[in-house]
């Protein structure tokens, strides 16, 4: 099937006609290639066709994303049932099931806002009280009715429409999961998303409370003042209001409060319309091969797997949609349960809404960083160059050090740009980072550069000390190494040490505080350099 896919890809590289032909398995990359194609389409005069292509592409990305995500959650769920989790956990899970059932159709934005206004309690709890209107989305048909006809290779990821619930998913990974997992370190996935949230034990400080109040006031206004909202979001959004704030900041929800429900409904319908449209064609050439290819690699490409299996490797997240998904999911799950949460336990409507919302917000994000993912990734290359230039201005020591040991910026910063530091930071930090990115104009594209610079400088001591330690070792042991007067070996040793450091920066315990400092430094750099471009453009 790979062969088919490649053949198709090669074919379409020449024909350059089909948007979906280049889709790859990794969702992020799928997105990238689509936008590669979109660049061609953007020159298409017919704007309708352009829009429709673009949407098809985005929709497709998100299908992949959501298959991935729900597969993982489901696998996790299976694993846990097998593991005979202790009764406490089981109890929690079942009570969540009940809770989920009882709130089947409660996901309504207006209610949510009201809740926000009247109660400081966690949203997920407050949901319980208000299963008000039935969601209008229920009118939508399930989008993929004919999946039983999938070819064997397709396995069954899409059995329940857009969200995976088939048990055969777990078979997809050729490697059996370990039967006994190591004890889970207590590094909460999202517990530190916002240290000031109200759902945990620690009581809010007055300051946090007043911040939350400010957000609630802004959000409940008839016309939310987006500038003001951005201003406040820059330094972090309280967990309770993060989902709706993200929807507003990404432009997915209108500032006008009365229109929100309508827009939300329309957008979600539109999204599932895309899916239906695409899904119907999934067995047509050439989509079929693309589609199969997505299935093959889902188990390994899903960055969440390591995340949920062993939090120690949280930097393995490479999926740009994950933060959106987790944040929107946080409306329904108490954060302490998040890691072990089984998405399939959520009502289908809720799953669908999370999926649609993630899709639209992801679209918005990708719009801003398209040139990162077009052919040869010029956006990334340029940003890496800009980073190098910037570092040479702000920290000559580090720059010279890299140069001396022949470390190229591309060797580590490519990934920083390509994955928006998601592989370098725990997910909770990425989410906090994205509060600011969404509040900052050109946050994901331009400001990210300064964040990367601040991030690099953050490690300057470690970076410079690698050389120092080797040099001192050289000095102290020079008698044993008469032959080592050459700097050559030194530089080799340092090169390797530096790269190992730069590819494994110890951020696992980072939380809001560290990200806050990072952002402050990035802001300072931007203030100094961005507004005076000649400072860093030669």
């Amino acid at each position: 099937m790979w062969g088919h896919w490649i053949t198709t890809e090669d074919f379409f590289m020449h024909m350059s006609t089909d948007l979906l032909s280049k889709i790859n398995v990794d969702v992020t990359f799928a997105a990238f290639s689509l936008f590669m194609e979109l660049n061609i389409l953007l020159s298409t005069p017919n704007s309708d066709a352009r829009e429709s292509h673009r949407n098809t592409a985005k929709m497709f990305i998100i299908i992949c994303v959501c298959i991935c995500i729900s597969t993982v959650f489901y696998n996790q769920y299976l694993k846990e049932s097998k593991l005979n989790l202790n009764s406490l956990k089981t109890k929690k899970a079942s009570s969540f099931h009940e809770f989920a059932r009882s709130t089947n159709d409660a996901w309504d934005l207006e209610d949510e806002e009201d809740e926000d206004l009247v109660s400081a309690s966690a949203l997920s709890l407050s949901k319980n009280k208000q299963p008000l209107h039935s969601s209008s989305d229920t009118a939508l048909p399930r989008s993929q009715p004919q999946d039983q006809t999938d070819s064997p290779q397709d396995r069954s990821e899409l059995h329940n429409g857009t969200m995976v619930q088939s048990s055969s998913d777990s078979d997809l990974s050729s490697a059996p999961r370990p039967l006994s997992l190591p004890p889970r370190p207590i590094i909460p996935l999202v517990a530190r998303i916002s240290d000031q949230n109200s759902s945990g034990a620690p009581p809010m400080t007055v300051r946090e409370k007043s911040r939350l109040d400010k957000f609630r006031a802004l959000l409940s206004a008839n016309n939310t003042d987006l500038d003001e909202l951005r201003k406040h979001s820059w330094s972090g959004i309280p967990r309770e209001v993060r989902p709706i704030t993200w929807r507003l900041l990404s432009g997915y929800l209108p500032a006008n409060r009365e229109r929100r429900e309508h827009v939300l409904q329309r957008k979600r319908e539109e999204y599932f319309g895309f899916i239906e449209q695409y899904y119907d064609s999934r067995n047509e050439e050439p989509h079929r091969d693309t589609y199969r290819q997505i299935h093959i690699d889902i188990p390994r490409t899903n960055p969440l797997i390591p995340l949920f299996q062993q939090p120690a490797v949280q930097e393995g997240i490479n999926d740009l949609v994950t933060p959106f998904f987790v944040v929107f999911l946080s409306e329904f799950v108490e954060e302490k349960h998040m890691e072990n949460f089984d998405v399939a336990a959520l009502p289908v409507e809720t799953q669908r809404n999370i999926e649609a919302d993630s899709f639209w917000c992801m679209s918005k994000l990708l719009d801003g960083i398209q040139d990162n993912y077009t052919f040869a990734q010029p956006g990334i290359q340029n940003k890496v160059k800009a980073l190098e230039e910037l570092i040479s201005r702000i920290d000559e020591d580090v720059h010279v050090h890299f140069h001396r040991y022949e470390v190229e910026y591309l060797q580590f910063a490519f990934r920083w740009m390509n994955n928006l530091l998601m592989r370098e930071l725990p997910l909770r930090c990425t989410i906090r980072l994205w509060d600011t990115y969404q509040a900052e104009s050109e946050g994901f594209s331009h400001f990210h550069l300064y964040v990367c610079a601040a991030f690099l400088i953050k490690w300057r001591k470690e970076i410079l000390s690698i050389a120092d330690s080797v040099l001192s070792l050289k000095d102290s042991s020079i008698a044993d190494f008469q032959v080592l007067s050459s700097k050559e070996i030194l530089s080799i040793a340092d090169f390797q040490g530096l790269l190992m450091l730069l590819q494994n920066l110890p951020t696992i315990h980072w939380g809001n505080e560290e990200v806050g400092l990072l952002l402050a430094e990035a802001y300072r750099l931007k203030y100094m350099f961005a507004d005076a471009p000649s400072h860093y453009k030669r």
Binding site: W2, G3, F29, R300, F414, R415, I466, S486, E488, G497
Partner: protein
Amino acid sequence: MATAPYNYSYIFKYIIIGDMGVGKSCLLHQFTEKKFMADCPHTIGVEFGTRIIEVSGQKIKLQIWDTAGQERFRAVTRSYYRGAAGALMVYDITRRSTYNHLSSWLTDARNLTNPNTVIILIGNKADLEAQRDVTYEEAKQFAEENGLLFLEASAKTGENVEDAFLEAAKKIYQNIQDGSLDLNAAESGVQHKPSAPQGGRLTSEPQPQKEGCGC
């Protein structure tokens, strides 16, 4: 890492290439960590690992560049071929297409490395015998026709993983010994712990002896 930086005589640069999903990162991980990583995230651009091995009593540090298999990263990954002493070209024995693409990988490897670069072909996922799609014999023949070393290996069980890296190292070392690999040549991919300071990147010591260190 600064504990004993010089207890090796050579540094060999390796690259690992091949289609996406054939198990390049898993091979590297198995080799450096002796563990199988079941859910390995995609490699972005290039990642880096090292390990010290021993060939004929010489300690050799392998400096291994694990490249992303995805086509879209080729522009970046190609820049890492330069100066590789060894290349592990990996395919997946259960997916014929990854085998079919070998000629394109080989072309890249030949064009972007020097003629002395030792290329070893590795058929990974040898543990999945039931799903085998490429026979040992045909791959062996392909390797012979193209002058490649060849092994089937499994990053999952660890079978032949050590050997894959070692065989290539032995061959490189042999090339150094018989003088066919000129360490003076730029981009030989081998760096020798020098017995005397030399200008430039590489030092000439075609007949290395044990040096007075922790070797």
